[in-house]
Assembly symmetry: C2
Homo-oligomer: 580 residues x 2
C-alpha cells in the first residue's frame, strides 16, 4: 500500500540503468529501473544500449565494445580471414575513385570454420549459448525455453559473428513483440552522421532492431558506422546496394553481383537480410490487375529483372547457395514480401498469397541449413483480413517468426500512417506476429526526420505492448498496473517516469498546470481541485481499510455508518492544495 | 483510366461543397466533393456545416439558420411555451447576481403538445420524417431502411425539437461509424469563445457530434452559444451542472435539482444527455478492490450520493419521469457507464458488467416511452477483452447503439492516448460500436488545446473509417481506392485533396520535396528519381493494355516479347522529370 503523504515529501530517485547478472561475469543484461516514490521499483526492458549508462563514454569513431567477442571466440568454430577487399564501388563511387571509407581500425572478418555457426544450429544440438541465456534473462524466461524455441524455428536470435557489439535479443511469437525502425540515406537527402544519430535515437525510444535501407552514395561506409555503434541487430536489403552496383539498372543485376554484396555485408556484420527470393516469374502477372501493383522496391526490382530476362528469379534459383553463406556468418533470413499489397484493395490477393506459399517452401529449405528464418508480411490490410495473414503464414511457414510492416488498415490518411498502421500492428501482434516494422507519419510522403522516427517508434511500442498484454505475455501487464496505481495515487512523478515517453507526459501535464505544487496535487486539470472522481474511490477504500475489513463486506455492512460519517463531514471533498 | 499527361497539365479544381437534393426544396444534404485531375470526382460525407460553404456568412452572435424549423412545425405535435426562467445560478453565479447571459434573441422553447415527438415514435408509426430522408441521402441508403432501424431501436437520430440548426445524422451499427469530440470549459482554464471555436474546429475535421462537458462558471451561456452555432448534435452530462448548482457537494444533489437542470438543457436544445442511472447502490462496493476505482466523474458523483444517503440512485428511481421529459423534447439517452474501467486491470469486471446489465433494463424502459437510447461503454480494455463488451451490450441492451470511449488498449503511454485508444476504437467499431468518443493526446494529463482536438478527431476518423471498411460498409472503401489510385498514378494533388488531412499531407510532402515540379513528378522522396517501384507495375500494365489483352493472359503469353522490349530500352526507367 502506498503512502500518499510520503509521496509528496520524498526526494524521488530518477530512472536508472541496472543490470541483471548472468552465470558468467561478462553476461550482464541492461534494464531500465524506475524507482517509485512509494519505495518500490519497476524494471523494464531496455533497448537503448550503453548510451544510457552514465559510466559509458560514447565515441562514435571507436564504436561500442564488442560484448559478444569472447563468446564467439570461445566456441572455436569460426576463424578470421582476410575478407573481401572493400572497393569504391561499394560506396557507389566509380572504380578507382577514392571514397571516404570508414575510420574504424581494419577488422578481419570472421566466418564458420566448418559447419553452421548459427544460434539455431547450437540450439538444435542442445547447446544453450551465452546469447540464449542473455535473452532468457532479458525476457524473464528459462534459457532452455529460449533454446527450444530457436531449435524449433519458432524464434530467431539475429547475431552475425561479425557484429559482436549487439545486446542479444530474440524474435518469436512466444516472446515480447519486437519493433523494427527503418533508417537510411536516400538519393534525395541525409548524411552518415544523421543516420547514426537516428539509429541511437530510435533505440533510445525502444526500437529492438534497425534496418539500414540506405541507397545512393556511401552505402558501405554508412553501414559500417551504424554497425559499429549499434546495440541492436541491424537488418538490410542487399538488393538495394546490388542495384547501385548495377548502375541502377535492374536488368543488369546478376547472381554474382548479388552474392558478392551479401558477402560484403555479412563480413561487416549485418544480422539479418531481406531477400526477395519468393517473387517468382509466374507471380508477376498476378499483379497486373492490382490497384497499386507492386509497391515493394525489392519486389519490383526482381519483377523487372524477371521481365527483362524471362527467367526465374535468381534469388530463388540460388537459394541454397545463399543458405550456405547465411550459415557461415549466422545471418538471419528475412524472406521479403515483394508482392505485399500497397493498398487495402490489393490485400490478401492471389499474388500476395502465392508469394507467401513460396516463402514457406524456402523456409523449409533454410531449416535444412540450420539458418534462422523470419517471414516478412504486409502492408495494407483492412482489419477483417488481418488474421488470415497470420493463420496462413503459420500454416505455410512452419510457425517461423512473422515480421510485418504495419499493416495499414486504411489508405485515407497520409500524414498519419503511424496511426493507421499501429491499429493493424497491434492486432497482428496479438494474433501472433513476432516483430512489427514501424511506419512513420511521413510514410508515402517524405523522408522521416528525428521527430518522425520517434513518433513511429512510440506508436509501434504502443502496438507491441498492447499485443503483449492481449496475448497474456507473462509480466507485460505489470507495467500498465504500476502506472495505473501511480495515477490513482496521484504520484505524478512516478506516472511520468513510468510513461513510454516521460518527456511528453511531463510536458503535457505542465502545459495546463505548470506550478511545481501541481506535481504533488491530488487533482488534475480535468476536474479541477474541487471535485475528483478518483478521490471518491479512495474514500470508499480507506473506509474499508481502516476497519481491517474485506472491502466489499465492509461496504455492504457499513454503508449506513459511512453515509452518516460522510454527511457529517459536509459530504464535500476539500483537498489540502492550493488552486493552480 | 486516368491519363498521366493530363494530370500534369490540367488546372485542378479545389475541393468544394456540394449538396444532394432531397424530395423537398429545403432538404439539401451537404457533401464534400473532391474533383480529380483525371476528370472524375469523389464525394465524401461532410460534418463541417455551413461554415465551409463560401456563400455562407458566419456570425456567431446570430447562430446558424434553423434548418429543421419548418419540419418541426409542420408536424404540428409540438407547442411553444414560456419555458423555465433562466437564473444566475444556471451560470454558476450567486442568486440575484446578474450574469452575462446570452445575446441571442429571446426564444420560446418548444415541447410535445401530446405524445412523444421523438424520431423513434415517428418511425414506429411508419412515418419517414425529413430528418430520416436527410440521413438516408447522407449515408447512401434507403429512407425506409433508416426508419426501420430507428423503429427497432438499433439506431438513434439525436435531434431535440429545440435544436433546429443541426444537420441530421444517425448513429447505429448499420450506418457509418461516428465520432464524438468532447469540449468544455473547466474550473482551471478556457473561455466561451474558445469552446465555440473548438466546436467548429472539431466538426471541420470530422466530429459527428460534440459533447459540451463544461464545468464551473457560465455553463448555461457557453452551452447556448455552442448550440446556436453547432451543425452537429450536442450532448451533455446534466449532472455536472446540477453538481455546480448543489455547490459542488454530491450529497446535496436532489432529484428536483437534477430534473430542473434536464428541463433547462432540453429547452436549450441539447440533443443527447449522458445519465448515470445504472450506477446502483449495490454496485458501489464492487469497485472497492479495483486498481483505479471509479474514474467516471458522473459515476463517482452518484456513488458519493449513494454513500451519503444510503439510498438508491435517484436517477434510477426516477427514470420513468426522465423518460417523459426526454420524449417531450426528443432528447436521446446516452446511458452513462459510471463504473467503466479506468485501467486495463479493471476491464470487464463485475462492477462494469453489473452496470451494463442495469443499462439493459433501462434501455427496455426507455423503449416503452419511444425515447431514443444509446449505451455508453468503456474505457480501458486490452484487445483480447474488447469483443466481449460488444457481445454483452448487444445481448443485454437489445442491439441499441453502443457509444464507447476508446477503449485504451494499454495504460503505459500518457501523451499518446489518442493512439492507445484509436487501436481499441477501430476494433470495437469493427465489432459493432456505432459511435466512438475521441480521446486526445492530453488525456489524463491536461486540457486539450486546438491541436489536441484536431489530433483526437483525426485519430478517431481513422479508427471509424477503418471500422467501416472492415465491416464492409457499402461505399466505404471507395475512398481508400480513389486515394490509392491517385497515389499509384502520381496524382499528388489528388492524393492530398483526398487525404483526411490535406494540409498535413501536403506539408509533409513539401518538407522533403518543396519544388513545385515535385507535385507533378513521377517519383517521390522514398526511392528518389532513378528508381520507382510503382513505375515498374505501370510498365507491366501498360504493356497489357496497349495490346487490348487481358493483363494476366497477356503477360503469361507475352513475357518473352516484353523481355526483349524491356531490354532494348536499356532495362532502365528514365523518367521525364527534373531531379528535385
Amino acid at each position: 500500500m502506498t503512502n500518499d503523504n510520503q509521496s509528496n515529501t520524498s526526494t524521488k530517485q530518477p530512472a536508472r540503468k541496472t543490470y541483471l547478472q548472468g552465470s558468467r561475469p561478462d553476461l550482464r543484461v541492461p534494464m531500465r529501473e524506475v524507482p517509485l516514490s512509494d519505495g518500490g521499483a519497476v524494471v523494464l526492458y531496455d533497448t537503448s544500449g550503453p548510451y544510457t549508462d552514465p559510466s559509458f563514454e560514447a565515441d562514435p569513431r571507436r564504436g561500442l565494445p564488442p560484448l559478444r567477442a569472447a563468446w564467439i571466440e570461445e566456441r572455436g568454430d569460426t576463424e578470421e580471414y582476410p575478407g573481401r577487399t572493400v572497393r569504391p564501388e561499394d560506396d557507389g563511387r566509380r572504380p578507382g575513385r577514392g571514397a571516404e571509407t570508414t575510420s574504424f581500425p581494419a577488422r578481419r572478418p570472421r566466418r564458420a570454420a566448418g559447419g553452421a555457426v548459427t544460434q539455431r544450429a547450437y540450439a538444435r544440438r542442445g547447446i544453450v549459448t551465452p546469447e540464449m541465456e542473455y535473452v532468457a534473462l532479458r525476457e524473464g524466461v528459462e534459457p532452455e525455453f529460449v533454446r527450444a524455441e530457436l531449435a524449433a524455428g519458432r524464434a530467431v536470435l539475429p547475431a552475425n559473428v561479425n557484429h559482436p557489439e549487439i545486446e542479444p535479443m530474440i524474435i518469436g511469437r512466444n516472446f515480447l513483440v519486437k519493433v523494427n525502425a527503418n533508417i537510411g540515406t536516400s538519393a534525395v537527402a541525409s548524411s552518415v552522421e544523421d543516420e547514426v544519430a537516428k539509429m541511437t535515437w530510435a533505440t533510445r525510444w525502444g526500437a529492438d532492431t534497425v534496418m539500414d535501407l540506405s541507397t545512393g552514395k556511401d552505402i558501405h561506409t554508412t553501414r559500417e558506422w551504424i554497425l559499429r555503434n549499434s546495440p541492436v541487430p541491424i537488418g538490410t536489403v542487399p538488393l538495394y546496394q546490388a542495384l547501385e552496383k548495377a548502375g541502377g539498372d535492374p536488368a543488369a543485376l546478376t547472381w554474382e553481383l548479388f552474392r558478392d554484396t551479401v558477402v560484403e555485408q555479412a563480413e561487416q556484420g549485418v544480422d539479418y537480410m531481406t531477400v526477395h527470393a519468393a517473387v517468382l516469374l509466374a507471380h508477376v502477372p498476378l499483379t497486373a490487375r492490382r490497384t497499386t501493383g507492386i509497391v515493394s522496391r525489392g519486389g519490383s526490382i526482381m519483377a523487372a529483372w524477371c521481365l527483362a530476362h524471362h527467367e526465374e528469379n535468381f534469388l530463388y534459383t540460388h537459394f541454397r547457395e545463399l543458405c550456405e553463406i547465411f550459415a557461415a556468418y549466422d545471418v538471419t533470413w528475412s524472406l521479403g514480401d515483394g508482392l505485399r499489397p500497397g493498398s487495402i484493395a490489393d490485400a490478401n490477393d492471389e499474388a500476395q498469397f502465392a508469394e507467401l506459399r513460396t516463402q514457406g517452401e524456402l523456409t523449409a529449405i533454410a531449416a535444412e541449413y540450420d539458418t534462422q528464418v523470419m517471414n516478412e508480411g504486409p502492408g495494407h490490410v483492412p482489419m477483417n483480413k488481418i488474421k488470415e495473414n497470420v493463420d496462413l503464414q503459420r500454416e505455410w511457414c512452419a510457425d517461423a517468426p512473422f515480421y510485418t510492416l504495419g499493416p495499414l488498415t486504411t489508405d485515407i490518411a497520409p500524414g498519419y500512417d503511424h496511426i493507421t498502421s499501429a491499429i493493424g500492428a497491434a492486432m497482428i501482434g496479438w494474433y501472433g506476429t513476432a516483430m512489427l516494422c514501424y511506419v512513420t507519419p511521413k510514410e508515402h510522403l517524405g523522408l522521416p526526420d528525428r521527430d518522425d522516427v520517434k513518433a513511429g517508434v512510440i506508436a509501434y511500442k504502443i502496438a507491441a505492448h498492447a499485443a503483449d498484454v492481449a496475448k497474456g505475455h507473462p509480466g507485460a501487464q505489470a507495467w500498465d498496473d504500476a502506472l495505473s496505481r501511480a495515477r490513482f495515487d496521484f504520484r505524478w512523478e512516478d506516472q511520468f517516469d513510468l510513461s513510454l515517453d516521460p518527456d511528453t507526459a511531463r510536458a503535457f501535464h505542465d502545459a495546463t498546470l505548470p506550478a511545481p505544487a501541481a506535481k504533488s496535487a491530488h487533482f488534475c486539470s480535468m476536474c479541477g481541485p474541487h471535485f475528483c472522481s478518483m478521490k471518491i474511490t479512495r474514500d470508499v477504500r480507506r473506509f474499508a481499510d481502516e476497519r481491517g475489513l474485506d472491502p466489499e463486506a465492509a461496504l455492504a455492512e457499513g454503508m449506513k455508518e459511512k453515509a452518516a460519517e460522510f454527511r457529517s463531514a459536509g459530504g464535500r471533498l476539500h483537498l489540502p492544495v492550493a488552486e493552480a
